[in-house]
Amino acid sequence: MTKFYTLARTELVEAMKEYKFIWLTLFFVILGVTQPLINKYMEVILKNVGGTNGITIDPNRPVPSSAEVLLSTISGQFNQIGLIILIISFMGLIAADRNSGMQDFILTRPVSLQSYLLSKLASHWIISMFSISIGAGVSYFYTLLLFGTLSFSSFLFFLILYSLWILYVVSLAILISTFIKSPILIAVATILVSMVCIIIKGFNHLVFQLSPGGILNLAEQQLLSIQDLNYFSIGTCFFFISCNISLAYLKIKNS
């Protein structure tokens, strides 16, 4: 346990030295602020920036509820460009160690492979969730300011479920980086697989419920306050995370 703590702490210190906490947080805050503002001031922007010949906005259109705006922020910004930047930020989490020889150095010490992998998972999840929580919090605050109330408890519950999705993405990056050596290719493969998990929603509902993307659906339903939810997705998500980690464990052990 102390080894796990030490390894995780070194990762966090390294992220501090690279200013990762600062810029990742700033990026997610920018994403979180932009979407509600665009939703609110769309008419003003179109009127002022010009190029609106032939574009008319229906003056009688319904004003979107605050839950819908927050959802569009999450699914439209955080899950697309946000996810891409997030994966790029931790694409070297194992590849950099392996290419610099640090992995051999650590694993020839009396450190178990489990604590090494789990420390990677935990530390990068903490970094990501720190940034995403602040970004989503600012977005929530702006949405309250511009669109009216939304219960804080449902937002908090949404954030907890969303963090499971981020945990899955980090474990996926760990698994893929045991197969591929180049960090750029790891990023591309991870982005592709997680995008497929998001897109599969439109094809087949049962497959989507059983895929890791089901947790996202559950998280989004928290905001829309739908009754009789199916919490089965939490179990499947944990199952996929442990699958990823144990596969990576076997792959490194046999190599």
Binding site: L26, Y41, I45, I85
Partner: protein, 82 residues
């Protein structure tokens, strides 16, 4: 790219200001972090001036790409001027 400057003069600044201020402020902060790091590592990284252009000109993605990739691409010994 729209190069017509006259459109800027017709904007009602008072209506668009609440939209503009937070976004511009956060972007300037991000550029500031990247520039601070760039100034400290100017003599170490490969192609420092192209990274400077990327930081200053590419909207919000430039600083991030510099901080992820640019600061790790170190100049090798052969290209360094003695």
């Amino acid at each position: 790219m729209n190069t017509d400057i006259t459109a800027l003069l017709e904007i009602e600044w008072s209506t668009i200001l609440p939209f503009l201020v937070p976004v511009v402020f956060l972007n300037v902060l991000l550029i500031g972090v990247a520039l601070y790091d760039w100034v400290k590592r100017k003599d170490l990284i490969a192609t420092p001036y192209s990274w400077l252009m990327a930081i200053l000109l590419v909207q919000s993605l430039g600083p991030i790409l510099y901080l992820v990739i640019g600061r790790k691409v170190i100049r090798n010994d052969y290209s360094r001027k003695s």
